[in-house]
Amino acid sequence: MQCYSCGNELTEKDYCTACGADVGFYKNIHYLSLKLYNEGLDRARVRDLSGAARCLRESISLNKNNIDARNLLGLVYYETGEVVAALIEWVISKNLREEKNLAGDYLAEMQKDPQRLETLGRTAKKFNLALRYAEQESYDLAVIQLKRILQLNPGFLRARQLLALLYIRSGDFDRAKHECARCLRIDSGDTVARRYMREADTESLPGIQTNRRREAQPVRYQSGNEMIIQPPSRGPGAGVWTFGAAVAGICAGIAVAWFLILPARATRIREAARGEIAAVCEESDAKSAQITDLERKISKLESTISEMEKEQESAEEVDYHSATALLEAVSAYLKTPEDLGTVSEILLGMEVDAPELKDEGAAALYDAFTDMAGEELAEKFRQAGLAAFREEDDETAVKNLLWASELKSDDPEVLFILGRAYYRSGDNGGAREAFEKLVSDFPDTKEASQAQDLLAEINNTVDQTD
């Protein structure tokens, strides 16, 4: 210890041996400060934190330079959740003695985890908010806020004390006792928690009804012969609370409708719309398929019509050509009846089925002409056909023999040679038709029996080909 006057080291004397200053009181104050620090330390060791804080505050009020006492006070504050108060003590301590000071280590430790520091700092703000709620009689909000604080900073002693007090107020003595017990675990010398604990114990004893409990009981009194029972008063703020609760209920109802019912209904409507869209799509697809089918049919019918028109045009053309050829043939025959060669040549230019003329006039002319010159012409065609067959000119033979058969149908030889000409030229269909007609119309002739052999041969050839 140094003299406050000259800075010299003091001895056991009550005065400074260097400057003679009276240092008795000064030394006593410092000794007392140290004694209080020791007591604070002892109390802190047994977790009597409030007692320790009291001693340490007194110690530094006697000697602000008692760094150990200040540092320990900061620790005690920190332990009781008063982080800001702890920081203040450590910062001051560090300023008073920069070197060899534990406060520097504590501050460095705090700065290592700034997020933790921020969280603890937030709890102070929340505590102030909770205190305001309690002062404004918003006790439920205060309790909620305090619970949040204690989740973040479980050692926050004052927050726990306030929570216990609020529990006592609401008659929740078990919880109040629980919180008091937690307070006493943090600070065994917490007189506030002890008082609250005793209060909660007293209130929760069976058979004991305090004013707080009696508040809810109806008031009974005798008026003459009648017993008057007055319902308990709910206090001046009860109406406001009821109205507030009703508004909160309505808000909650609207919120439920908004967040639960409306989305469900919207989903139902959306699903129904989706179903309708799907049905319409299906119907549309069916109609599209139907349209495609009808279009295909129309196209087919159009092509059929086109083909038929072509056929009709072709038939008309053939008919016209045949009628013209017939007129030429008749004209040639009338001019020179003996020149059958010219007439037959004209007729050979006609189609084989020319006799089936559609024009009635042409058909009548054809009939009259065949009646008139049919036999002669048939003979002419027969001769020409046989000659051509002999010369192996099957095409000419077929043309002539067809006309011969058309004009005179009672000659089996013409049909037989016609069939053979067809067969030899490779037209098995024509050959079969001619042979079958021969077998059918002239069954008992030798040409018919030969035709049957040739028919069998044609059939064999067809089977082998298949």
Binding site: Y4, S5, I29, N63, N65, I88, A124, F127, L165, T210
Partner: protein
């Protein structure tokens, strides 16, 4: 039997982080030792004024 309102008044707002600097700057750090030294200084000046030449011995060394 505790009185809730009275008890509630005993609770004071907690210091917030933003207040640290302000609190430190405004805190009066004078302790009892400072008061004593001041008192002793005043007494020394008084006795020096009463005794000529006495002011040479008293006074605080910086």
């Amino acid at each position: 039997m505790i009185n809730f309102d009275e008890e509630l008044k005993k609770f004071h707002p907690s210091l917030e982080l933003e207040q640290v600097q302000e609190v430190i700057q405004n805190r009066n750090l004078d302790d009892v030792s400072d008061i004593l030294i001041e008192l002793m200084g005043n007494r020394g000046q008084t006795s020096a004024a009463a005794k000529p030449g006495g002011s040479q011995r008293s006074g605080r060394r910086e």
